[in-house]
Symmetry: C2
Subunit: 262 residues, 2 copies
């Protein structure tokens, strides 16, 4: 384990830059995972990080000590620093004092849709994007495609909300969703409050692609027109719409219910 | 319509205090609804506010003008103020410049649970609480009971996330959930990742109470032990849990599916 003591240390300066700038993370193809849960998930599912960074005040924490041991066994760099330096990097208030520097995965260009997938058109809220990734992973859907207007998936807020889903799902960003939908080999289902076909009346016990849209405007009209089905989640009462992440969960788990009841 | 021009105006000082302090809102039994959508919903579902507050820059907006007209027809106070004063009140960035001051509803002490309900035990995140209120309202569930540790439902973040659900749902706060569950006349279902009974194997085509817990720890153990059923949402893949608001949506809409397919 090495120790950093100065804000002028080159590694520290790099980390500070990454921590503070979404553009820097995109450009470097790297991001930071903050907290024990995300780091444990990464170790279990993807292996060692590029670098394990720990606050000195966290060294005595048994979960942190165990993670450091695993990183050192895998010959990953481990660097400790004073709590004040660590806290200037971290976006987590009252966090435990542990983060991983990781490379964001580089994926091949998206091919033809053949397996169940989620398509996110212009989703804005990082919490919604993270929750959708988490629900998809829990429902066994491992392909995610995001339009260029969708929140950057490897941002700290999306990572926190997804609770490790990033490490079991292939996330394609900046995708031309219209091209993807046109070429799809499976049905593409868009949810819409104006649709007349009920979600429950569609055969979901097969691979389908779920097309979900912007929190306020929904799926863009031209994209919606390309979908194989437009479906509605039947509702009661005077509130006519659902949060997009809630809507996604209902769709994914209805698909899983149909698959499992076959 | 009156106009405020000074930060020393007594109404402005009251509004500023309410806008900045959750404690002040609780104590006054009043809150602020910010934005056209929430104000329109309130007018449609609950009627006129105590006071309609508008930024001078928003007066030309046709939706705002329509809302002001409705307020004046109902003899509600309408007060305009310079944009700078309004923006110092509002928590919405780039908002349209309209808010309502309303009284938060005063409800009778909770009786015995007989209608479908949602019980929130120590939920922390305002976005989750708001999403759950919205899903409940859309699924036709109109009774919500919150433990004292749950996020205050009439805060701006919860109001924004619930998109008007507050105005069709009865929200009881600071409720002793253990007493409520013990006396319930309907089954109380808690979701738990450790449960063995599948959500889909329970008869939900009847009134039930959904017990949902803290984002990290779930429902408190003593409370969980009082539930009639502990149910699990079957999942696939390596991610074993769902966001609590996603979980709530799956439960509420499975109940509605069963009710509608009877």
């Amino acid at each position: 384990m090495k120790t950093i003591t100065s804000r002028d240390n080159p590694l520290y300066k790099d980390l500070k830059h990454l921590a503070g700038s979404s553009q820097a993370r995109r450009k470097a193809g790297q991001t930071l995972l903050d907290g024990v849960h995300l780091c444990q998930s990464y170790l279990a599912l993807r292996g060692a990080p590029l670098h394990c960074i720990v606050a000195e005040g966290a060294l005595a924490n048994p979960e942190v000590a165990d993670i450091i041991m695993q990183c050192e066994s895998a010959h990953a760099y481990v660097t400790a620093m004073p709590d004040a330096l660590y806290n200037a990097l971290s976006q987590v208030e009252h966090g435990v004092g542990l983060m991983f520097l990781i490379a964001t995965p580089v994926l091949a260009a998206p091919g033809v849709l053949t397996a169940s997938a989620v398509l996110l058109d212009n989703l804005q809220d990082p919490g919604n994007v993270g929750s959708i990734l988490r629900s998809a992973a829990a429902a066994g859907i491992t392909q995610v495609y995001c339009s260029s207007g969708t929140a950057f998936c490897w941002s700290p807020k999306v990572l926190r909300a997804a609770m490790g889903a990033h490490f079991v799902v292939d996330i394609h960003e900046n995708v031309d969703l219209a091209e993807l939908v046109k070429a799809a080999a499976i049905p593409v289902l868009a949810t819409s409050g104006y649709a007349t076909q009920r979600l429950y009346d569609v055969d979901l016990a097969r691979p389908v692609a779920w097309l979900l849209g912007h929190e306020g405007q929904g799926v863009a009209h031209d994209l919606l027109a390309l979908a194989t089905h437009q479906v509605v989640i039947p509702h009661l009462g005077q509130i006519e719409s659902l949060n997009v992440a809630a809507c996604a969960a209902v769709c994914f788990f209805e698909q899983l219910r149909q698959i499992q009841s076959k």
